[in-house]
Subunit: 333 residues, 2 copies
Amino acid sequence: MARAAGVSRATVSRVINGIRNVDLAIQEKVKQAIALTGYVPNQAARSLVTRRTGTIALIVSGAGGSQESPFPGHVFADPFFGRVAGGVVGFLRPLGIYPILMFADTPETRDQVIAYLRQGNVDGAILVSISTEDTLPKLLADASLPAVLFARPARPIPISYVDVGHRAGGKLAADHLVARGCRRLATISGPLDVPASQDRLAGFQEAMAVHGHPYIPCAEGNFTLPSGEVAMERLLAEHPDIDGVFAANDLMAQGALLVLRQHGRSVPGDVAMVGFDDSSAALACRPPLTTVRHPVEDMAAEMGRLLLTHIEHPDHPVTSRIFEPTLVIRESA
Amino acid sequence: MARAAGVSRATVSRVINGIRNVDLAIQEKVKQAIALTGYVPNQAARSLVTRRTGTIALIVSGAGGSQESPFPGHVFADPFFGRVAGGVVGFLRPLGIYPILMFADTPETRDQVIAYLRQGNVDGAILVSISTEDTLPKLLADASLPAVLFARPARPIPISYVDVGHRAGGKLAADHLVARGCRRLATISGPLDVPASQDRLAGFQEAMAVHGHPYIPCAEGNFTLPSGEVAMERLLAEHPDIDGVFAANDLMAQGALLVLRQHGRSVPGDVAMVGFDDSSAALACRPPLTTVRHPVEDMAAEMGRLLLTHIEHPDHPVTSRIFEPTLVIRESA
DNA sequence: CTGAAAGCGCTAACAA
DNA sequence: TTGTTAGCGCTTTCAG
């Protein structure tokens, strides 16, 4: 700005950055000049010297051996991603920092992302990895860029992460279903190669075992609505007398509800249904879905917090933070 | 990088930026040195001189007189936003440019956004305005920052925008329903203060008028599933003999379908249903929803393209681009 | 076709 | 407490 505030640029810099040791009168004068001229510091110049951008990356990374659709619409359209983005933005915004949205689904785009990060465009990264085979977490670790993951990586990697107690969630569902009086339970699991699915299933099975149900029929889905439909269809064919189901996410539960209705089974009268996530899909179900709440927004905020401390303190040790799931009781069970 | 490539930094710069007039042998030498040292140019330094950041903002702006929820989850979770983000990222990514995700819902956050943009953090902005009362478009225009809107602003503002032919979409739905043999039509509109809702309704009504149906019962919703339920409930109460419905978006159609089933009406047997958007909700419906496709991804890509030309050519005239909707026929009509 | 030198706007030592 | 002085790493005239 016009150093016409009558002082040196150093002083202006000091008041803008809130460094004390500036005479109050001068501070006032500078502030007025700023307001008057509408001066805004140039971020590029600032970053050049501070080596901080005040920006972080929010990366969604899929598997993608080769190429996928040009429009990653269905990824961002996933209510789950929306909640993550909302949580991150909600936490970061008051701090005046905003995330850069990145998407990597192929080896090339992964390299592109890494290259971008190495340009010093961001101070750190928050990574939501969709696939077990994703190599980006490792690439990030190798680049020793401050980063935080959503969910425990399939293979151990020295990066901090945030996760929910999947086993505890499975147990919550089991206990509720049993307490409700269900006797012939079944479950629709997520894809069994992802840790979260395994853990939800294990938690459910273990809890059922202690309730005296050592064997629980299980159909594997892939977290999509149609997969929930076919899983329910199969379960019903093999065990027509089912009276309670735990689906590993709300979308599959929604699909299951659809076929239950088709078969004339009332919910929760004939069969009770418990989902997982407490996503918007849970509310779109009829009846509204009883579900295990996955506190995604809070977790996303925590990712932001963790990332910031990693950025501030480069030597901060790798950390993980596990959130407790809770049961949200609505009408389906 | 180690200017140990044996040349001056100026030459390295030229090679990196693909400026001709560089001896091929030297080019090779430099490239090797780059590969060897893993050199990456510092973006901040670059931006400082070029006055370009290679970054744009993707802003979601709501109304918000005062404050809203700390987590803008439901906004980003909206499948509509997901499609926009996907389209923008899909177009920009091959160009190596990524969007910064911003969210403004209160006057304060709007100012914060503007301040951020004025810091020179981005070259331009793509704005998805959720509310009619949003003042951000005007603020952007006043700041004369390159920007493109999604959808025509309620009040005329000198900013380029991209939109779909809402009227044409309404007509598509009307023609299809009539061709199918429906005689007693009704419609569920969106909030009538937003131009898109008005236009979809008008297009539908006009087309119905030419088909000899001058009056069409209409219930107003707000684009949410529950609002679709109550609207359908009302329509059914007042006009029990309805045999065809046009809902102004898929979510409301989904809600309407739910109450239709509750009332024992078969779809499309007893009543046919046409939605609008062709969002993921259309596929989640049972039966799958016949709907007017809103080519959101393509529109988002076009926003990127338009923004880029505005950035390249600051004097490029304000432009609008209207996309044609198409009918996607599935099972509900 | 290539190198030297200036300078983008800011922060941070260092002096005063 | 404030001003002066160096750069931060790059692009870009301007010479050569």
